[in-house]
């Protein structure tokens, strides 16, 4: 038991240092200009965060060695989380301030935009 705990302590210490180093890395990466390409910068930032999150969940929260029942519960959480995350893309994704698409409210009538001119009179 005690030997087991000594191993735990060693792992926790290593994870601690890894988390601090990765925190430095994510701050450093944010000052790095990835050729001005936003999605690379965002991906790198989130990848480091995901790695840190994994280290915390697997070691501090003991998810690397947990009962099946917990994994089943969490697999549902992951599923619903993905749905939640992509929910904004499930509806018509207009620019919020775009005046043409503000829905009817306060008794105002939704203004149907006449696109017939744009299509060279196909209607």
């Amino acid at each position: 038991m005690s030997n087991d705990m000594k191993h735990h302590i060693k792992v926790y210490r290593n994870v601690f240092f890894a988390l601090l180093i990765l925190t430095g890395a994510t701050v450093g990466a944010s000052y790095f200009d990835f050729g001005g390409i936003t999605w690379i910068a965002v991906s790198v930032g989130l990848a480091i965060a995901a790695l840190k999150g994994y280290l915390v969940a697997a070691n501090f929260m003991h998810l690397n060695n947990e009962r099946r029942f917990i994994y089943i519960t969490l697999s549902f959480t992951v599923l619903f989380f993905i749905v939640l995350f992509f929910m904004p893309t499930l509806w018509h994704n207009d620019v919020l301030i775009s005046p043409d698409h503000i829905p009817a409210q306060n008794g105002e009538v939704y203004k149907q935009v006449d696109h017939s001119h744009d299509h060279g009179g196909h209607h």
Partner: protein, 197 residues
């Protein structure tokens, strides 16, 4: 009467009840914060004025320090559980005390950040970014306060249980730890999402 499955494992789940309970609670917390993250992404992607909202004016050095403080508190939290597993209640008190110290440190740094924003006339109502920033970090801060209340109880009066039911008390600290690590985990994603990207 003794409450069942406080210490012994329930045969069908293989867990003591509180552990399943906290994981179900954390699952609902994932959805709570997930919804706000999702709203953040939508607001940001669909707002052409986002670049003018002063996201780059956030204090990155202070937030980095706060990240380190919270990570440290997570380690001391798990070490307090290890101390109980090794039957060392003195060490438990030391690590739990350090956890509480770090938690208060986090709140103090957050307070400095908030007041600096307010002094510059920046409020949640100022623009979309600040609305998202104050809502999510505010909710996270409330979670920190909740953790302080629970951990403070186990540091103080709740510690009595160690004398009567040591195994049950150890489990309580593991459960409180799971919550605390989750709060740390949320911050690990909040920090780059709000401050750096």
């Amino acid at each position: 009467m003794k409450i069942p499955y406080n210490e012994e494992l329930r045969p069908d789940t293989g867990l003591y009840n509180a552990k399943l309970g906290i994981w179900l609670f954390l699952a609902s917390e994932v959805m709570l914060f997930g919804g706000l993250f999702s709203a953040y992404i939508m607001l940001r992607l669909s707002d052409p004025n986002w670049a003018n909202y002063g996201q780059t004016a956030l204090n990155i050095p202070l937030a980095t320090l706060n990240t380190a403080v919270l990570i440290t508190s997570s380690v001391t939290m798990v070490m307090s559980w290890v101390a109980l597993k090794m039957n060392d209640i003195k060490k438990y008190s030391m690590y739990m005390g350090l956890t509480l110290l770090c938690s208060f440190g986090f709140l103090v740094i957050k307070y400095i950040e908030y007041t600096a924003k307010f002094d510059h006339g920046l409020y949640p109502s100022t623009n979309n970014f600040l609305a998202v920033y104050f809502t999510i970090t505010g909710l996270h801060g409330l979670h920190i306060i909740g953790g302080i209340i629970v951990n403070g109880y186990f540091f103080g009066p709740g510690k009595k249980m160690w004398n009567s039911e040591p195994e049950r008390f150890t489990n309580r600290i593991e459960i409180a730890g799971l919550y605390w690590h989750f709060v740390d985990l949320v911050w690990i994603f909040l920090f780059p999402a709000l401050y750096l990207l």
